[in-house]
């Protein structure tokens, strides 16, 4: 194809071109405005950069073709019948364009977010290298502050949140018997917002004055008079947030309106329930972080006074608004994992999920309670003292629905036939490690304890036990579990087991001791520390390098198996849920005919149990043997 035609057709090339146009536009508009107002100098690098941060991505998306259909529609041309030309992948190139197939988007999501896991992890390695000894060795204080800020922001906004969205994108429509998501074009747009956010966060290292360095929490007023790098975070979060809100809308509408006949809410797999709950959280909470960053943007760029105490602004308001999102966000980062674990445990233990309904209810309970606890991050912030007590109680109560889930999973194991392969090992690892992280969470809910350990390595330990031992373990479990379905290949079981054991052991050696040094008095977010913590920190750093190495085993396994692993059958795990009833990888439109659901999703061990059949509802008579009255012992 001639370059000129390729430049005119939607795609990455046209996207890049438009991105450049966006840059030119940013120069033009800022200079024009500044000239108009008579500000000096007319060309101000910072203002141009700020405008470009917003304009370039939008121009890029237009060039990429994310809006082509909508522009066509808006211009009032005759309605075009959907020809599905942008649906599905026939070569690897189809992964690099706007694609409306939920399976392609799912893989785009997962691969992109794992890329950011590696980058974020690599940054953690740099941090650990610096922290191996007291004093300053490799980086200066400003860079160090930038490292942990980017580390956490990437891993939260570009890894855990989107990777769950990606896995669900792939399996959720299949699970509920839908040919695609409700709004495929919107789905594609949500994906393409992500790399933009990620690249922006990384690019902040190139900004004059260094990357954003105020932690992933970006407390004002530190963030409102930081160098321009801070704006990369502020704007990137808007893109990542928009991406999650749009995906969540899509999930909710898909789940509510596109379930197969017979798939009542009480026959949905728990992964679907989990994503339903998560999406509710996202839709309701995410606007708050968007707003908090708007405030920072306005304060820093236009001199607003939201957080300027001297002019009547309120410093604590930032934290309330931020945590009203970011506490629910920790459940956004955990509930989809709960769903994954429910799928895997019941298939791998060959047993129905114990207490299915309570599992679903406890998800909803966590959603509700999740909105009532935000100020437990502010126990030492100097807010009105009385707020702490109700927040302590609601926070601690969350242990109850979470406990229901943990205990039900344990009961699911009981008297099962446990297939201890890699997904199952990670699932069991999750059970134990998340319990530990959750328990340290309950300790943190107790105000007098938090008064001492807040902002110490005890918190860092909690973070990693719930996010690494919790979320990341479920992500690993899910990726191994659905790998055959997504790629049509089997992964290497031996490498998988090596990965698990290395990760499990060195994870504990890395983050376990952090509890100790935290209690002893080592604050977080410091590049240098007192001599008394030197021993433990060296130990932690060495262990953390092994965690890094174990991740390399995983990456090798995935890449090698994807390229040359043995072909996977349609249903290697003998699972009942619908995604396993189609070929691996699934056909381009998922199903020839939408299946009919005739029973629960987890009826393992029930003789003759069926979840879905590929018949029309009229043909699919409810079969008598299916456990209509579930056995409850």
């Amino acid at each position: 194809m001639a370059v000129a035609t390729r430049l005119r057709a939607p795609g990455l090339l046209r996207g890049a071109l438009f991105g450049l146009v966006g840059l030119a536009f940013s120069y033009g508009i800022t200079c024009a405005v500044r000239a108009l107002y008579g500000w000096d100098p007319v060309l101000n690098g910072n203002s141009v950069a700020l405008v470009a941060l917003i304009a370039c991505p939008l121009f890029f998306l237009v060039g990429l073709g994310a809006f082509d259909y909508w522009f066509y529609w808006a211009s009032g041309k005759p309605t075009r019948p959907e020809d599905h030309s942008s649906h599905g992948a026939r070569s690897w190139k189809d992964y690099f364009r706007v694609n409306t197939d939920h399976k392609v988007i799912g893989i785009q999501y997962v691969v992109t977010s794992f890329f950011f896991l590696l980058v974020g992890g690599l940054i953690a390695m740099l941090m650990r290298a610096e922290l191996a000894q007291p004093g300053m060795q490799f980086v200066d204080a400003e860079t160090f502050n930038g490292l942990f800020s980017v580390h956490a922001s990437l891993l939260i906004f570009l890894f855990v949140i989107p990777v769950f969205a990606g896995l669900a994108n792939f399996v959720l429509p299949l699970m509920i018997g839908a040919p695609d998501m409700a709004f495929p074009r919107l789905n594609a747009l949500s994906y393409w917002l992500l790399p933009i956010a990620g690249i922006m966060m990384l690019a902040s290292f190139l900004a004059p004055g260094g990357s954003f360095a105020t932690g992933w929490t970006a407390y004002a007023p530190l963030s409102t008079d930081a160098p321009i790098g801070q704006m990369f975070f502020t704007v990137a979060v808007q893109f990542a947030g928009a991406s999650s809100v749009l995906t969540a809308l899509n999930f909710l509408v898909t789940i509510i309106t596109m379930r197969a006949p017979g798939m009542s809410f009480w026959r949905m797999p728990l992964l679907v329930w989990a994503n339903f709950s998560t999406s509710l959280l996202v839709v309701i909470a995410t606007p708050f972080i968007a707003a908090s960053q708007f405030f920072v943007l306005l304060d820093r760029a236009l001199g607003f006074n939201f957080f300027n105490a001297a002019e009547g602004g309120s410093v604590l308001m930032y934290q309330h608004v931020f945590w009203f999102y970011s506490h629910p966000a920790v459940y956004i980062m955990m509930l989809p994992g709960f769903g994954i674990i429910s799928e895997i445990l019941s298939v791998k233990a060959r047993k129905p999920i114990f207490g299915y309904r309570m599992m679903a209810f406890s998800l909803l309970a966590i959603v509700l309670l999740g909105f009532t606890v935000w100020a437990h991050h502010m126990f030492v912030s100097g807010m009105q003292a009385w707020i702490r007590i109700p927040m302590m109680i609601t926070t601690a109560i969350i242990a109850v629905p979470t406990g229901i889930k943990i205990f039900s999973w344990l009961a699911t194991l009981w008297r099962g036939v446990l297939h201890l392969d890699t997904p199952m090992l990670f699932a069991l690892g999750f059970l134990t490690m998340f319990t530990l992280g959750g328990i340290s969470g309950v300790m943190l809910a107790m105000i007098p304890v938090t008064i001492h350990v807040s902002d110490t390595y005890f918190i860092v330990a909690h973070i990693h036990y719930v996010l690494f031992g919790g979320s990341l373990f479920t992500i690993f479990a899910g990726v191994y579990y659905w790998f055959p379905k997504m790629t049509g290949r089997m992964y290497d079981e031996r490498l998988g087991k090596i990965h698990f054991w290395m990760t499990f052991i060195f994870f504990n050696l890395t983050f376990g001791p952090m509890h100790v040094i935290g209690l002893e008095g080592m604050p977080r977010r410091v590049a240098d520390y007192a001599q008394q913590f030197a021993g433990w920190n060296l130990f932690i750093s060495i262990s953390s390098f092994f965690v890094g190495a174990s991740t390399l085993v995983f990456v090798y396994n995935m890449v090698a198996s994807w390229r040359g692993g043995p072909r996977a059958s349609a249903n290697p795990w003998r699972a009942l849920t619908l995604e396993w009833q189609v070929s691996s990888p699934p056909p381009i439109f998922n199903f020839d005919h939408v299946p009919t659901v005739v029973g629960g999703p987890y009826e393992y061990g029930v003789p003759g149990a069926v979840h879905g059949v590929f018949k029309s509802p009229a043909e699919a008579k409810p079969s008598g043997t299916v456990a209509t009255a579930p056995t409850r012992e």
Binding site: Y219, F354, V380, S408, R415, G416, L418, I439, V442, V526
Partner: protein, 238 residues
């Protein structure tokens, strides 16, 4: 299995309690917080051990053995009694712990009959302390002196961004917030020098924003304060 669990819990608790988790107890508040922490440990270890033992036991007892590839587990869907138990017991435990934590909180924040006030000022990246007595010049130092055994109230201010006034040996911290004054009270019980640490990210020098608190006996303290006040010309109050 119950017996294994009970034994493992006991061992766990014994180990957990025998470890010295905290820095020295420099205040009367520290003792109460440490005790609360120990109680939390005693409550948590069995929960953790329970989960651990069930997982390990299941792995050992119910793992798939050769020849069972096609076998399924028992089709148990639930058990109402069990579900009620494992909702109710954690709930009770939680309420118990919250109640205890609440009493500790009230205890460590109780207003004493008599207290002295020290003004703490945080700025990037240093601490300073002001002692104001009526009719006396204000003393401004960068080493904090407090008398042993007397209740001290710190009124904490920040001039630029948020900092956090933390003395690990006292176990207490609170943010220094621009625009408002925060406070806490402490009763030092042990003479010596302890670190003052800034615990809220405040920029470039956050990790070096350190200072020292000297707990001295009341007589020494009085002498020190008088000397400081005398060293200041009376007009130089701020």
């Amino acid at each position: 299995m119950l017996i294994i669990g009970a034994i493992a819990s006991l061992i766990g608790i014994a180990v957990a309690l025998s470890i010295d988790w905290f820095p020295v107890q420099g205040s009367s508040q520290a003792k109460k917080i440490d005790d609360l922490y120990d109680v939390l440990l005693v409550a948590s270890v069995p929960v953790f051990v329970l989960v651990e033992v069930v997982v390990l036991y299941s792995v050992w007892k119910f793992r798939m053995r050769p020849g069972e590839e096609e076998k399924d587990g028992a089709p148990i869907h639930g058990n109402t009694m069990l579900e009620i138990i494992w909702t109710a017991i954690p709930a009770l435990l939680i309420f118990g712990l919250c109640a205890y934590a609440y009493t500790v909180l009230v205890d460590i924040e109780r207003k004493p009959k008599r207290e002295m006030v020290v003004q703490v000022t945080a700025q990037q990246f240093a601490w300073s302390y002001q002692y104001k007595e009526p009719g006396r010049p204000t003393v401004n130092t960068d080493v904090l002196y407090v008398p042993k055994g007397e209740s001290v109230r710190f009124n904490i201010k920040a001039t630029d961004v948020i900092h956090d006034f933390w003395v690990p040996a006292f176990r207490l911290k609170i943010d220094a917030v621009p625009g408002i004054t925060t406070h806490y009270r402490v009763t030092p019980v042990r003479k010596g020098s302890y670190a003052v640490v800034c615990a809220e990210l405040c920029g470039l020098g956050h990790s070096t924003m350190r200072s020292t608190v000297r707990v001295v006996d009341p007589v020494t303290f009085k002498g020190w304060l008088a000397a400081q006040q005398a060293a200041k010309p009376a007009g130089a109050t701020s």
